[in-house]
């Protein structure tokens, strides 16, 4: 009996073993370790010292930069995710119907997403929005006087939102695949019934695309919370100007690897994990009210 059990399970676990090892050593272990560290003061020189909830207490009651980081990150997520998704959906719908050259457009629109994570693009972005950068020169053509977008704390975050918008390629591809999945005859039937285009969009496209929209929304939200490289480069690694680019990840990085407040940084990490977890959970829990899968009935 035991022998048979082992024989049946052995192949699966052998193939899974690299992942299992990785899961325990690189995911579960570190997550638990960082939970422990979040209750300590730890500078990597001396051993971690247990401080109870002191890190969290300080974070929530006295640490203004923590609240600033939350504000910056949430503002960014709230602006960047809808901007990117609306852009992606509109372009996908334009591309979906009746164009033969779709491949070329698709490639052009996707390229920024692929390059987007690279440092070169972050460097480029910084220069585009400089006082004498390209953006201001374009504005000057229309007689508008530009600002120093990056160094002005009121506008710096928007340059990153625009960067996010520029990278709408992947959700666009997913939307395109989703739109392909909607049967043409639904539109034809609606056309015959004389349904106006707008109603076709709200009554056919949106409901049938709901699972894809949901999927993109969850993914993009998680991704946006994780934004790091571009914010780090554009803010010179500090979150400047005036902490207006103090993304949560940037703050965490600095606490950990600049000031070596590993305990406090771990507490920050756990807050980030809980925030992302909560968003994911909310999305999944509410999804049944607004996402209807086509094959639900069978």
């Amino acid at each position: 009996m035991i022998k048979r059990f082992i024989a049946r399970n052995a192949p699966g676990y052998i193939f899974l073993s690299p992942w299992l090892l990785g899961f325990f050593l690189l995911a579960l272990g570190p997550i638990l370790a960082s939970l422990y560290l979040s209750f300590t003061k730890y500078d990597m020189v001396s051993d971690p010292r247990w401080v109870g909830f002191a890190n969290y207490e300080y974070m929530f009651t006295r640490d203004r930069r923590f609240w600033k980081a939350l504000e910056v990150t949430f503002t960014y997520v709230a602006l960047a995710v809808p901007a990117r998704l609306i852009m992606a959906l509109s372009v996908a719908m334009l591309l979906d119907k009746g164009l033969r050259t779709i491949g070329l457009y698709r490639a052009i629109f996707y390229l920024p997403s692929l390059l987007g994570a690279s440092i070169a693009i972050a460097i480029l972005w910084r220069q585009l929005f400089e006082q004498n950068g390209v953006v201001n020169q374009v504005l000057a053509v229309f007689g508008i006087e530009g600002l120093a977008w990056i160094t002005n704390p009121d506008t710096s975050l928007y340059t990153l939102v625009i960067l996010a918008m520029w990278q709408f390629g992947s959700p666009m591809l997913i939307f395109l695949a989703g739109l392909r999945g909607i049967p043409r005859d639904l539109y034809e039937a609606a056309e015959i019934d004389g349904t106006p285009k707008w109603r076709q969009f709200t009554r056919i496209t949106l409901p049938l695309l709901a699972p894809v929209i949901f999927f993109n929304l969850v993914l993009q939200t998680i991704e946006s919370f994780k934004t790091f490289s571009s914010a780090f480069i554009i803010s010179n690694g500090t979150g400047a100007p005036a902490d207006s680019l103090l993304f949560f990840t940037v703050y965490l990085f600095n606490e950990a690897f600049k000031f070596f407040r590993m305990g406090y940084a771990s507490a920050l990490a756990w807050v980030l994990l809980l925030i992302i977890g909560a968003f994911t959970a909310i999305a999944f829990l509410t999804s049944k009210y607004w996402v209807h899968y086509e094959n639900e009935r069978d």
Binding site: K3, R4, A7, R8
Partner: protein
């Protein structure tokens, strides 16, 4: 070559029981067909024999060896799948040789067997093609070829013909039969198509809901179905079933069937008040028979060599009647039909066959 012994074989998924305590002896060199409606467990049973499904209860033995814990790769059997399951990335030749390579066969022997199989199945010209370049029938041949190169002790077929069109199916059926005649290896063949079962089997196992309903040769199943299910399942067009009330008041058993005149029954070893009488469409004659009645033709299905008449009795029940097709009938016509009592199959209230007691019926 080997026979196969199933003892109390069962398959459970949690509380759900798919196969319920089967006992079956499959003889060496026999062409055994497992037949039954979908969901009866026939494919599961085949896959348990193959080693693709766990055996949760009982034992399966190939030859004298119990194989319950032996993985599929070590059972020395071949299987032909409904979807053919040819390896899409290998040529036909590689598809055939793949299994032999796994068993570390010397190259010369391997080539001999592959060439032999290709010759038997007439696929020599296809050897360098990939499966996607083959037609359905060709894929089927390659799948069979892959099974025979192994020269296994046992062949398993899982509805191998059901993806083919009707004409090819008939042709492949004949070829499989002749392949069996040539190899003489034990074959177990699963199908839901009773025509396939009847035409190819040495013996048929009729399964329903994980249980064996009857095991026997095609003739036994057709002429002496053990229960109503088998009677209804085997034979095309489908057997006619009549509900009869039995009146024994006069000392002699008299059957009353709505729409038919009352007629006396032979002596039956059953005291049930209700019987089911079955008669094959071919045994109902137009204008002749011991028991006769009138009926209205509802539908005529002309098939060339025969006509299938749907005839409504006065009770409303419709009988299928197979006629030789030489006379043309129109629907709406009223005709007289009849059958002989010797052509009737009798089933008791539990649906089990009851056999008339021959001697006594002769005495009367």
């Amino acid at each position: 070559m080997a026979g196969l012994t199933l003892r109390n074989v069962g398959k459970r998924y949690g509380a759900l029981s798919i196969i319920k305590g089967l006992n079956l002896d499959i003889h060496d060199g026999e062409f055994l067909v497992l037949v039954g409606p979908s969901g009866c467990g026939k494919s599961t049973l085949l896959r348990m024999i193959a080693g693709l499904e766990d055996i949760t209860d009982g034992t399966v033995a190939i030859g004298n060896r119990i194989v319950n814990d032996l993985p599929a790769s070590k059972r020395e059997l071949s299987m032909v799948f409904q979807s053919y399951a040819l390896y899409p990335h290998m040529t036909v030749a590689k598809n055939l040789a793949f299994g032999l390579q796994n068993f570390k066969m010397p190259k010369a022997e391997m080539e001999r067997r592959v060439a032999e199989a290709a010759r038997i199945l007439q696929i020599e010209k296809l050897m360098d093609r990939k499966p996607r370049q083959l037609s359905g029938g060709q894929k089927q041949r390659v799948a069979i070829g892959r099974a025979i190169v192994r020269e296994p002790q046992l062949f398993l077929f899982d509805e191998p013909l059901s993806n083919l069109d009707a004409e090819l199916r008939v042709q492949m059926r004949a070829e499989l039969a002749s392949l069996y005649a040539r190899l003489g290896t034990t074959m177990i063949y699963v199908t839901h198509d009773q025509v396939e079962a009847m035409t190819m089997a040495s013996r048929i196992v009729v399964l329903r809901a994980g249980k064996i309903e009857q095991v026997g040769t095609p003739q036994e199943l057709y002429t002496r179905p053990q229960n109503l299910f088998v009677a209804g399942f085997i034979g095309s067009p489908k057997i006619n079933m009549l509900q009869a009330k039995v009146d024994r008041a006069s000392g002699e058993a008299v059957a009353t069937v709505p729409g038919l005149p009352a007629f006396s029954l032979p002596t039956l070893p059953s005291a049930d008040d209700g019987l089911t009488l079955c008669v094959r469409p071919g045994a109902v004659h137009i204008g002749a028979g011991e028991v006769m009645t009138q009926g209205t033709i509802r539908l005529v299905e002309y098939l060339g060599n025969e006509s299938l008449l749907h005839i409504a009795l006065s009770s409303g029940q419709v009988l299928l009647v197979s006629d030789n097709g030489k006379t043309s009938y129109r629907s709406g016509e009223t005709i007289s039909i009849g059958f002989d009592r010797s052509d009737l199959h009798y089933f008791d209230a539990a649906g089990q066959r009851v056999e008339p007691i021959q001697n006594e019926s002769r005495l009367q």
